[in-house]
Symmetry: C2
Subunit: 224 residues, 2 copies
DNA sequence: GAAGTTTTGTTGTTTTTGCAACAAAAAGGG
DNA sequence: CCCTTTTTGTTGCAAAAACAACAAAACTTC
């Protein structure tokens, strides 16, 4: 089964023997679905009775506000979960939507099975609990990062704050981000055209360079 | 001991017999300290080897960016933790500071003891693990809420988004927020004087009313 | 490779925000 | 109760962002 190969690539199942993964899939009532780019995986405000694992590809957590503006809260990659917080915090609706950002494979699990101790005594389940904790914590920190960016005054500072973080994560001044310009504007909650202008200016000033989704931070601290 | 009375008020220790709390305090190498308003409890970027529990009072999680601007990430109340995410995600420095927002009592625990299973077989420790999970999840959701506010274009929408959330949490159109105007500006990452102008306008328009930290949302959806 | 779609860049206008400086009001401390 | 400090409101100006509308470029799809 092809899915098994994908699952084994994830840090979550690292070192799990095949038959254990199979048993867990059964135990968690796993369902696996493929999505095309742009497909809505979960609708905002729908009932939160499952948790979702990105097995392959990427998906965005999106929020639509009362005026119809859509903002990208987070970008999820293979191995990331959606809906875990709702499960553990006992919320019964998702507050955001999950939208496929490219061709993606997504597994979903029964929420109750995930959060309660396993009666079948699955070998990897205890380890899993700790991984969950780590994952939720990491997400919390990622959200804090995003707040850091959004808290910057002005588009220029927002985008630089974001790019610096991405650069740090990539470990290089050359890096690729998961967003095109429109999506980046949504992520940073600014007007797309205004962002375009600012990016153009930063490029002209020689602070950064970019092409498509690839960016390069040229000067570190030689501004003003 | 007075502290014990405070601890027992927290949801975390609800139903725990006194001697168990005492044992856990010992097991987690607990230390308890009092702080005056404005005192820094934890410095940004300092070593993350303990986790902190607000026992009484309030404290703000604050972040100082590269330009020296300070923004309030979150407001923590009695029962809330600081540093849990770093512990579980295995980060060795705090990325934000913790500052007392009023006279407060804070307990701190050894990070390792909190995240590893207890060898002493403390009676409440298993329950505690689940509470931790719930707490981190709740924080994650709170951060998402904040992102929702920050993603609004314009101060007016930001502040209304925030106030509506606070109103929903309080379950009434009359409610009190934990911030004064300066702090609210920091939380929403906008200029204080601009916020003041916008609030004044909203009051004049009859959309909201406020006095000190008490607010009232008058009209639901009759704007423009 | 032509036609349509999506993404990106550009520009001008309007509105909002940031900034700075000040004054009034409220809170806190002896 | 007076003095000091903190909080809040106000205003004018400069800067920045939102908005709208359009054009060019890139990417699809047949």
């Amino acid at each position: 089964m092809e899915i098994l190969r994908e699952l084994k690539k994830l840090a979550l199942f690292k070192g799990c023997p095949d038959q254990d993964i199979a048993r867990m899939k059964n135990c968690f009532k796993a369902e696996i679905t493929s999505y095309e780019k742009g497909e809505v995986i979960i609708n905002q405000s729908s009932d939160a009775n499952r948790v979702y694992l990105i097995v392959k590809g990427e998906a965005n957590v999106e929020h639509e506000d009362m005026f119809g503006n859509i903002s990208i809260i987070l970008n999820l990659k293979a191995g990331d979960f959606f809906g875990l917080e709702e499960a553990y915090a006992d919320k019964n609706t998702y507050k955001d939507a999950l939208v496929s950002a490219e061709k993606a494979i997504v597994a979903s699990f029964d929420r109750q099975k995930i959060i309660s101790p396993c009666s079948n005594n699955c070998p990897c389940h205890i380890m899993l609990a700790k991984d969950m904790m780590k994952m939720i914590s990491a997400r919390s920190l990622a959200l804090t990062d995003k707040i850091k960016h959004l808290s910057q005054r002005g588009i220029k500072d927002k985008v630089l704050s974001y790019l610096e973080t991405q650069s740090r994560i990539a470990g290089s001044s050359y890096f690729e981000i998961p967003f095109n310009k429109t999506e980046l504007a949504n992520y940073l909650a600014v007007e797309r055209s205004a962002l375009s202008t600012v990016l153009g200016k930063l490029k002209k000033e020689g602070v950064i360079d970019f092409d498509k989704k690839r960016y390069h931070i040229k000067a570190k601290n030689q501004e003003e």
